[in-house]
C-alpha cells in the first residue's frame, strides 16, 4: 500500500513538472506566432518588425565588440547604483530603528524619494551630474526606499523572545546583531534584492535613454528611435529583457543561497 502511495506521489511530481515546461513552450510559440502574423499584416518594418528579423539583428549585434562593451558599461553603472541604494537603504534602516531622532530626520526624505516619479529624478540628475552618473543616481534612488522599508520591517519583526534570550545571556550589541538581527533580517533583505534589481535595471535604462549616456544600452535605444531603426530598437529591447531576467535570477539565487541554508532546519518536527 505504502509503495503504491509513494509511486503515485512520484508520478504526480513528474506530472506537475512536465506540463509546466510544455506550457511555457506553447505560450512562447503562440505569442511569437501572433507577433509574426501582426508583422506580416502591417508589412511595414519601420512600424512593427517581425520576430525573425529581431532575432537576426540580435545575432548580428552579439558578434560586434561594442555590443558587449555597451552591456558591461550599462550593467556596471546600474549595479553600482543598485549596490549604493542597497547600502544606504540598509544603513538608514538600522539608524532609524535605533534612534527616534534619526527616524524623524530621515523618514520624510525617504517618503519624498519614494513618491517622486523616476522621470523627475532623471531630469534633476541631468541638471546636476554628468550623463554617465545619471543612471547610477537614478538606480540608487529607486531601490533605496525599498531596502529601507524591507530591512526596517525585518528589524522590527525580529523575534522578541530571541532578543530577550540574547539579553539574558549577555550577548552584547555586536553578538546580538550578528546572531539574532542579521539572520532575522536576511529574508526581508533578499526580498528587497529580488524586487530592487528589476526596478534598478528599468529605471537605469530609462535614465540612459533620457541622458543619452555614451556607451549605454539606453543610448543605443535612443539612437535607434532617432534613426528609425526599428529592428535595432527591438533587438536592444530583447537584450534588456534577457539581461534583466538573467540578472534577477542570478542575483536573487546568489542572495537566497545563505537564506535557504539558514532556514533549512527551521521547519519544526511534528
Amino acid at each position: 500500500m505504502m509503495d503504491f502511495i509513494t509511486k503515485n506521489k512520484q508520478n504526480l511530481k513528474q506530472g506537475t513538472q512536465q506540463p509546466r515546461l510544455t506550457y511555457w513552450v506553447i505560450s512562447a510559440a503562440v505569442w511569437l506566432t501572433v507577433w509574426q502574423v501582426l508583422a506580416g499584416a502591417v508589412h511595414e518594418e519601420i512600424l512593427l518588425v517581425s520576430p525573425l528579423c529581431v532575432f537576426r539583428r540580435l545575432c548580428q549585434l552579439i558578434f560586434v565588440g561594442s555590443f558587449w562593451l555597451t552591456i558591461v558599461s550599462s550593467m556596471g553603472r546600474i549595479l553600482l547604483g543598485f549596490f549604493l541604494g542597497m547600502g544606504i537603504g540598509t544603513l538608514l534602516a538600522v539608524l532609524t530603528n535605533q534612534s527616534r531622532l534619526c527616524y524623524a530626520v530621515f523618514y520624510p526624505i525617504i517618503s519624498i524619494i519614494n513618491a517622486t516619479p523616476v522621470a523627475s529624478f532623471i531630469i534633476l540628475a541631468l541638471v546636476w551630474l554628468s550623463t554617465a552618473k545619471v543612471p547610477v543616481l537614478t538606480s540608487c534612488l529607486i531601490v533605496m526606499p525599498s531596502f529601507w522599508r524591507n530591512v526596517s520591517n525585518g528589524i522590527s519583526e525580529t523575534d522578541s523572545d530571541l532578543l530577550e534570550m540574547a539579553q539574558v545571556y549577555r550577548f552584547g550589541r555586536r553578538r546580538t546583531w550578528m546572531q539574532v538581527y542579521i539572520p532575522s533580517v536576511l529574508p526581508y533583505f533578499s526580498a528587497a534584492c529580488s524586487t530592487g534589481i528589476g526596478m534598478a535595471w528599468k529605471a537605469g535604462v530609462a535614465a540612459e535613454v533620457l541622458a543619452d549616456t555614451h556607451l549605454s544600452i539606453g543610448g543605443n535605444l535612443y539612437d535607434a528611435k532617432i534613426y528609425l531603426e526599428t529592428p535595432d530598437l527591438f533587438a536592444w529591447t530583447a537584450a534588456i529583457v534577457l539581461l534583466s531576467i538573467l540578472l534577477e535570477k542570478g542575483l536573487v539565487r546568489l542572495i537566497q543561497m545563505p537564506v535557504k541554508k539558514l532556514y533549512a532546519g527551521e521547519k519544526r518536527c511534528q
Partner: protein, 204 residues
Amino acid sequence: MPISLKHVNFAYNREKIILQDFSLRFPEKGVVCLFGPSGCGKTTLLRLLAGLEMPVSGKVDCPFRTAVVFQEERLLPWETARKNVAAVLHGPKQQTAEEAGKWLRKFDLAGSEDVLPGKLSGGMRQRAALARALAFQPELLLLDEPFHALDARTRDLCAEVLMHEGTQMLTVLVTHSREEARLFSDQILTLQGPPLVVVSQSCL
C-alpha cells in the same frame, strides 16, 4: 550577594498590579520552587529576577550571571544545538564548541550536537536549552516550567543533571506540578495573586 526583592511594586500597563510592596529573600544555594495557580505572577517574578522587567518601585538584588530556561526553548533556529550552547560561552571557537558538546552530552544529546533545532523534537530542544543555561555557569538559574515538554524518564535525567551541576548556585523553579515541586526542590514557596503573596513556605 543575597538574592532578594525589597518592597517591589510592579504592574503591566500601569493598571494590572502584579506585585504590591512585595519582599522576598532567597537562600544563596539550593532549589527553591515557586508553586501556584496560573496567572498569579510567578513568571513575572522570574522576569524581574532575570532583569527582563524593571520594577515600578523597590529593589531587586540579583547576581550578574543569571540564566533563564523559558517555557519555550528560545534556541536560535539557524544555529545547531552545539552553536546555540556555544553562543553563551566565551573563548576560542574550538574550545567553546567542545565545551558545548560536553554539556549537550550530559543531557543525553550525543549525536544531535550538530543538528538544527528545527530537526530536533520538543523534548530535545528543551534539553538543549537546559544545557545552554548550565553552560553559562550562572549564579542564579531561573527555570520556568522547564519539564513540561519532557517525559518522566527525560525529566528525571534533566533533574539529576541540574541537581548535580547546580550545587553552587541558586535554582528557582516555577512549576504547576506538586510532584515536581516535591521531587526537585529544597524549599517550596506557595504563591497566590495577583497581587503576588507568599501563602506558605515549606522546607523539605
